[in-house]
């Protein structure tokens, strides 16, 4: 059977299945009738005049704002729409949002700039040009009105989706003007609003996607269903770098619903007419793997290797002053070794992708953080020109970095091509955890030489860690150092006579990648635990000591002081509760956190977290606070439980029993306060809340028990009964 598949046909199918496409928000304010579709991918078809690539105005005055970033829970659809609407002065109740097309970006000169979503960069890197796009659209609508009325543009005012000429009392809606506005080129681009003139940016706004997510109407990649689609389950080679030798398909092809057994990149797939049938058949499939050269490695060996790697060869990761002299000085020395394991991302939605391959076109439905890269992957796997690939991005059931590289997509295209019909690949949770690209394992040796007064004469930080650049094959490592390895260390904010960062990039066969907050996830744990150790060695209070070392960083000091006050630093606590602090800058944002932690019968419970945040400015305070809460819990899970270990070359964990995630009962009270410095600073928010939580918890445990946690996760620490 061949299927003529248009996007429209799929939308019809989606309609029957979903019982409605769009759910209007039912909450007051701008979002009162702003709409996000359950199926957020943008349209290929023209459905109204475009006033620039981000703004489409319908004849009914509807405004479609195109969002060139992926919604994975961080509220980007709402925040970026706010930025556009701030300048556009449209009727907010007529706004709908959809994803911009990555295909369009490819064939139309990068009109959406980078569509990758990561590095806490969506607002930081898009705000200016989105404001510009909104302002430009507004001025073109005004120019169209002015031309129509023979009036001066300066005499016309736009607001609420209407352009008015006060002197003559004339008015026209954006819908009426859009056709003419679309043809207008402005002689000069208008200036964008400065923050003191923001009306929308900076005020809390309900997210557009919430009603969809409270009703089950938001479509994730895994929910996609195409006519004639095959469902595929995949076994990836259990040892990275191994390969499929053979499998005995005859054992499973007669099972109900099974369509085919196919080799795919990294493994083998079973396709069937229902995912469960595919998965069960795959489990029954005898597979012969060639595990390759890494099949005898394990975590104990890696741990020893990373420790040994601290002795060299070491590359220069930056610093200042004369560290050798500082370390040779007569004062007190503090030295400690910190270790962190590999971590899986484990987004709630297991990886999946749906592809429909034809000889001259590929359509992809999935949740991806990097649609441009997804286009390239699909094109390569399907042997089709990248310009003939369309990625229909869906809501992402969590990303955290994992969905930046879409290994599952390659497999979906291979299967669709082999079967000649649309195919959906779903990785089971076990595949998702065992075939991840992980937060690197690392060992860090931290050294401080103190002057007589306890102030640091020098810091030397040495890290042995996997290279993300090498693992992904994205670019080259220059001089043995990559930014991810030293972020948070090389820019250590604490004043010291000398600072030296040394690096040994060392990869095992385990692939590594970006994991929420990347290098800061391990470097903040080491640095902020170590500063705590140094403060104690100097006989000083951890807040007071940090304050002294941050004297020339007023931005840090503002956050630290707010945090000390809000958390009640120094106030008495119940006897089985300890308090710890950490502060760290990442992705342009400073976050300080105080954790109150109890240890009862050896059980660690984080009771309360106070976070103070300086990201400069806020677009949506509501989603900003949600991101801090989310980042705290993501880091808390890692601190308490997170650990991927290797045995016989393979990942030992496979599901949420062996890779536990914090649940309701583990969740602390979280209080978030924004301490905004304004100015030119627009910091990120998706990640910076994660780095401080592990050291804040570890420092609290030290305050309570006197035990210093130097290796994560905490579940491996013996904290007594």
């Amino acid at each position: 059977m061949t299927i003529a598949l248009s996007r429209r046909a799929f939308v019809r199918a989606g309609l029957t299945a979903a019982g409605g496409l769009a759910v209007a928000a039912l909450v007051p304010g701008f979002a009162a009738a702003a709409i996000a579709s359950g199926e957020p991918w943008g349209s290929d078809a023209a459905f109204g005049p475009e006033v620039g690539p981000f703004v489409v105005v319908g004849p009914d005055n509807s405004i479609t704002l195109r969002i060139a970033k992926a919604e994975m829970g961080q509220g980007v659809l709402t925040a970026l729409a706010m930025i556009l609407a701030e300048e556009l002065m449209c009727d907010a109740s007529k706004v709908r949002v959809e994803y911009a097309s990555a295909h369009r970006n490819l064939v139309d000169g990068n009109v959406y700039q980078s569509m990758g979503t990561g590095g806490s960069s969506s607002v930081r890197r898009s705000r200016v040009f989105l404001q510009q796009a909104g302002a430009s659209a507004r001025e073109r609508l005004i120019a169209a009105a002015a031309a129509q009325w023979g009036a001066a543009a300066e005499a016309c005012v736009a607001s609420g989706g209407v352009v008015r000429h006060e002197a003559s009392g004339r008015a026209a809606t954006y819908g009426e003007l859009a056709g003419a506005a679309a043809r207008i080129t402005l002689p000069t681009e208008p200036a964008i609003k400065t923050p003191d003139r923001f009306a929308l940016i900076g005020s809390p706004l309900k997210r557009f996607d919430t009603p969809l997510k409270a009703t089950g109407a938001a479509r994730f990649g895994i929910d996609v269903k195409l006519p004639g689609m095959a469902y595929a389950a995949v076994a990836n080679c259990p040892v990275f770098g191994g390969r499929l030798r053979s499998c005995d398909a005859s054992k499973v092809t007669a099972r109900r619903g099974v369509l085919a057994v196919l080799p795919v990149t990294n493994g083998v797939a079973v396709a069937a007419d229902n995912f469960w049938r595919a998965k069960e058949a795959l489990a029954a499939l005898p597979i012969d793997w060639d595990f390759g050269p890494a099949a005898s490695t394990d975590s104990a060996q890696f741990r020893a290797e990373y420790r040994a790697a601290l002795d060299g060869p070491l590359a220069d990761g930056g610093g200042h002053g004369d560290i050798a002299a500082a370390l040779a000085s007569p004062g007190k020395r503090v030295e400690a070794l910190y270790e962190v394991p590999y971590l899986a991302h484990a987004p709630m939605e297991p990886l999946n992708a749906t592809a429909h391959w034809t000889a001259d076109r590929i359509d992809v439905w999935m949740g991806t953080q990097f649609p441009e890269q997804a286009i390239q992957l699909a094109a390569q796997a399907g042997g089709v020109d990248p310009a003939k690939v369309t990625v229909h991005n869906c809501y992402l059931g969590g990303g955290f970095g994992r969905r930046a590289v879409n290994d599952e997509l390659t497999q979906a295209v291979e299967i669709s091509k082999a079967l000649g019909r649309p195919a959906k690949v779903v990785w089971t949770r076990e595949e998702d955890i065992r075939s991840d690209r992980y937060r690197p394992q690392a060992a860090l040796r931290m050294r401080a030489a103190l002057n007589g007064d306890g102030a640091p004469a020098g810091f030397e930080f040495t890290t042995a860690v996997g290279s993300i650049t090498r693992s992904l094959g994205w670019g080259k490592v220059e001089n043995g150092v990559e930014r991810q390895a030293v972020e948070g260390l090389a820019n250590c904010p604490y004043r010291a006579g000398a600072l030296k960062v040394l690096v040994n990039l060392r990869n095992t066969h385990v692939p590594v990648m970006f994991w929420r907050s990347v290098g800061s996830s391990q470097n903040a744990f080491a640095l902020e635990s170590f500063i705590d150790e140094v403060a104690h060695a100097a006989g000083r209070d951890p807040v007071e000591y940090r304050r002294a070392l941050l004297a020339d960083r007023p931005d840090f000091l503002a956050v630290l002081d707010a945090l000390a006050e809000r958390s009640g630093w120094g106030k008495p606590l119940p006897k089985d509760v300890g308090r710890g602090i950490a502060i760290h800058e990442s992705f342009g944002t400073i976050v300080g956190e105080v954790a109150e932690v109890s240890v009862r019968s050896g059980e660690v419970k984080v009771e309360r977290v106070v976070a103070c945040v300086d990201c400069g400015h806020l677009v949506n305070p509501l989603t900003a606070a949600m991101q801090i809460e989310s980042a705290v819990l993501y880091g808390l899970t890692a601190a308490l439980f997170g650990e991927i270990t290797i045995r016989d070359g393979r990942v030992e964990q496979g599901n949420f029993d062996s890779y536990p995630i914090a649940r309701m009962a583990d969740a602390p009270r979280i209080e978030t306060h924004f301490v905004l410095s304004g100015g030119d600073k627009w910091g990120g928010l998706g990640e910076p809340g994660t780095p401080p939580i592990a050291p804040a918890i570890a420092n609290a445990i030290f305050a309570l028990t006197g035990k210093r946690i130097r290796a994560l996760p905490l579940k491996n620490a013996a904290l007594g009964a």
Binding site: A18, A214, G216, W276, P347, P350, L396, G397, M626, M664
Partner: protein, 151 residues
């Protein structure tokens, strides 16, 4: 062959009796609001309500549902948003949203059995995983839903 009621509709399915209800709902009935998270009874993304009880549908074979009444997220709000959904929206609970159908169904069943849950009851009753860490807001939403149901 299995016959049961889904969201008020009589449904007959010609599938293996041991097919988990999760996959029957998603792949056979196109009710994809119910999610796959672990397939092992560990995360609750697949939670539906069967005869009033919150159940992990990935661990419930279709054969065991014979003659029973299944409520999914699609059915919960069919005739207007349920109080739990309204509270969820008011409290801004969802982030990525993937776990939320299961969370809402679990909260619905919790409140049906305990109209006035304490924080400790919520800790005990809400055991589904949310990787985005929406727990503080879901807790607030459950208290709010309890209040909404009473009025």
């Amino acid at each position: 062959m299995a016959a049961f009621i889904v969201n008020g509709r009589r449904t007959t399915l010609d599938v293996e009796a041991d097919m988990p209800l999760l996959w029957a709902l998603r792949d056979e009935l196109a009710l994809v609001g119910t999610k796959f998270g672990c397939g092992a009874g560990l995360c609750g993304a697949c939670t539906v309500v069967i005869d009033g009880e919150a159940v992990r549908s990935c661990q419930t074979p279709v054969g065991a549902v014979e003659g029973k009444t299944v409520l999914t997220i699609e059915g919960l709000g069919e005739s207007g948003l349920h109080a739990v959904q309204k509270a969820w929206i008011e409290a801004d609970a969802p982030q990525c949203g993937y776990c939320q159908s299961g969370q809402i169904m679990a909260a619905f069943a919790l409140l049906a059995g305990n109209p006035n849950p304490t924080d400790a009851d919520i800790d005990d009753g809400m055991t589904n995983i949310c990787r985005c860490g929406t727990y503080p807001r879901m807790r607030a939403a459950i208290h709010r839903a309890a209040a909404l149901i009473k009025t």
